[in-house]
Amino acid sequence: MRVSKRASGALAVGAAFALVATGCSSGNSDGGDAGASKDGAITIHGVQPENPLVPANTTETGGGKIIDNLWTGLVEYPNNGGAPQNALADTIETKDSKVFTIKIKQNTKFHDGTPVKAKNFVDAWNWAAYSPNGAANGSFFSDIQGYEDVATSDPDGDGPQKAPQPKVDKMSGLKVLDDWSFEVTLAAPTAVFPTKLGYSAFMPLPDAFFTQKAEDFGKKPIGNGPVKFVSWQDNVEIKLTRFDDYTLRDKLKIKDVTVKLYQDENAAYSDLISGNLDFMETVPTSALAGEKYKADLGDRALNTVTPSTAFIAFPIYDKRFANKDLRKAVSLSIDRQAISDKIFFGTRKPADSWANPLTPGAPAGNCTSCKFDPAQAKELLAKAGGFTGEMVFYYNADSSHKDWMEAVAQQVKTNLNINARAEGVPTFAVFRQNINAYKMKGPYRAAWQQDYPDIENWVNPLFTSTGSSNDGKYVNPAVDAGAKEASAAADLEASHKKFEEVLKLVDEDVPTIPIYFYGQQAGHSEKIKKLELTNVGELDLSSVEL
């Protein structure tokens, strides 16, 4: 896999934050005390996984972070946010981005001692895609030839009819060549496919998985990653320990890791500052006010950026929001810098681009309507014929979005003289239900965190007419065509260039408006002398030294 010019830009930013992340070690000699690390144990923050720990069935971060440590996939995403590198894969070869031949490293082991072979991948993927198994990540395999034959859905949504039984239970696009190699044929050329392979849905499963129920396996998962599973006490803790036969990367320098499952992040924070918890990836909002966490933690406070963006999305299916000049006017009337400074104390950065610039292939600063220009905003509003009635900005009230959404509404009100206000929807579930049913009556908050580091993940799901998260029904045939061409490009560099052009079209239409890039404030105990964060801001266990 090659790193394009744009990606190396992101790499530089990433490297800078990796330095910040490891800056905590500077007070001591470089690194930790090897003796203390050797049999050391740490306790880190976690939340109870919602589902049994099966990679293809985990869609939330509580389980996701355990899965990411228990498994190592074909490729992995480096901590500095750069392009993926081969991990378990020896080579991934293709001539046309349609047929991939994947060779895996020989003689690596699962935690139960069995070798990781090509069939462990093929079987795992077939299991996840087969719809009667009900895997929540099943749709990740829709690129592969024969997916439609194994995944069927209820023809009338959730009504009396049942989904028909799939004709076959194996995708025709997957073929085991020998113990250590297999061939993947996609339905259409997809340049970004190798990048996706680091996502947890694509992890291999040991033979033991197929001899028991998925739920039972998920209670005592067997992976192939740097740590292995020891025990799981519901809502209390998950214990992990070093996997001594791990050969894909450096082994853990410490021995035991306890993931303490918290319900209340303030309780976790109290534990962190009193030294009973060694790492917390996101300090609670209450500790951000007045930069309290910096006073509490000193140089043990880490301030980094993550590749996620907060948006305000428009229900374009509502005629009142169909005019792109109106959407542009709203975007130009928002003072993002003020929101970042006053409400987030600078922990989040004003957004200026469509794809998060930490992502390989994503250019920075390509959102021309992300600046603050009330005069131009008023002109555009007049050109769009004004806005009559009330403009209500919706957010889910079970998370801390009230402050910034009200600020947005207030700015629109002041700068455009639109009768705007913000309104909370009680829970995320109700909020998403309305969005999924296309029943939103005004602009609403949205956020996107990439599944895998590539600009493709910021275009196809969000801006193409069939995109999985194009909730506003934005349709632009030119964008669709461009994205299709970009996805099918022969290599990543060409693909990135085309996607960049597609984003120029998106920039003219303003289907959503980027507001801020997420930052992350983590903290660790005095016990940890050295650490690194992964590309999504979780603790990289292999890097921890005591």
């Binding site: 719809s131 009900g134 929540a136 749709s139 959730d158 006490q233 809502n235 309780a267």
Partner: protein, 308 residues
């Protein structure tokens, strides 16, 4: 006595059926599709939603769902959560924790509350009386989460005497502060009720007689006075134990205790009706039995009370 007991136990049946259906219906009518927000900002695949809907009978009407649930329940099976965990296991692991905390809280409030009540009831209007009056007012006025966070911060973070949260072993020593927090408001009420009751009975004839007989003061207070004054206190303690057994969402949350309150809260939020109803059934049973126990205790304390 025996007939009374049978009658009370029979009364449990309609209450049991009524409450379970009500709760089932309430959780069922909470707005929000359980799978709408489950996959984050992305829709869950239709295949996944179909699978779950079918597995948990979510496309049936509420009566069918309720009866299927009750059928399994009568066979001792509470069902499983959306993540496939057995609800029996959830209750079995978290309920002992809630009970431990409840017992510690009850012990603290009974000992401190009663001592303060007896001392102030015997010597009214003294310095101690005023001190207890003010401090109980203070405790009653403070919401539990304030007491919880302040004590956690003082003892756990500032002074470092205890760990801020309870460990997985649930050691007794770790439960003292959470128990105090949980019992603080009731402790204040108990002190006040005991004080009034003692002060009232202090002037009654039998106490005067006992003193006139020349009984030592310790015996007058300990046997004659206290036993008669305990009835309102026992009522309070009994209903409180029922409430404490119902779990303490706030206290369990602050101190990271894996109890039943946390489970109920989590299941309501994720709209898992089976889990909510199962836990509530256990709570309803405990509450009803506690009330029965208190009623029976009256007879033991006051020979004038008889049950037919």
């Amino acid at each position: 006595m025996g007939r009374y007991l049978v009658r009370r136990l029979l009364q449990l049946v309609p209450v049991f059926i009524g409450t379970t259906f009500l709760i089932y219906w309430l959780v069922w009518s909470v707005p929000g599709d359980p799978f709408a927000g489950k996959c984050g900002e992305r829709r869950c695949p239709q295949q996944y939603i179909d699978f779950m809907t079918d597995k948990y009978n979510l496309d049936q009407n509420i009566f069918v769902q309720y009866f299927t649930y009750m059928q399994n329940l009568l066979q001792g099976d509470f069902g499983e959560t959306f993540s496939g965990r057995s609800i029996n296991d959830i209750i079995l692991t978290s309920y002992p924790n809630t009970m431990k905390l409840a017992v510690v809280a009850l012990a603290i409030e009974a000992v401190i509350g009663l001592t303060a009540g007896v001392l102030t009831g015997l010597r009214r209007n003294g310095f101690l009386d005023n001190l207890v009056l003010v401090s109980t007012l203070f405790l009653i006025a403070l919401p539990v989460f304030v007491v919880g966070f302040v004590l956690q911060w003082l003892f756990g973070v500032q002074w470092g005497i205890v760990k801020p949260t309870v460990s997985s072993e649930m050691r007794f020593s770790e439960l003292i502060i959470p128990g105090f927090v949980l019992g603080s408001a009731s402790m204040a009420y108990i002190a006040r009720v005991a004080r009034t009751s003692i002060a009232e009975n202090r002037r009654s004839d039998y106490v005067r007689t006992a003193i006139a007989k020349g009984l030592p003061m310790r015996r007058v207070v300990g046997v004659h006075l206290l036993r008669n004054s305990l009835i309102p206190v026992v009522t309070l303690l009994g209903t409180d134990l029922g409430a404490l057994m119902g779990g303490a969402i706030v206290t369990e949350g602050i101190f990271q205790i894996n109890g039943i309150g946390r489970q109920v809260f989590r299941s309501i939020v994720t709209k898992e009706s089976a889990t909510v109803v199962s836990i509530v059934i256990v709570l309803v049973l405990v509450y009803l039995l506690m009330n029965l126990l208190v009623d029976l205790l009256y007879a033991a304390l006051d020979p004038r009370i008889r049950y037919e």
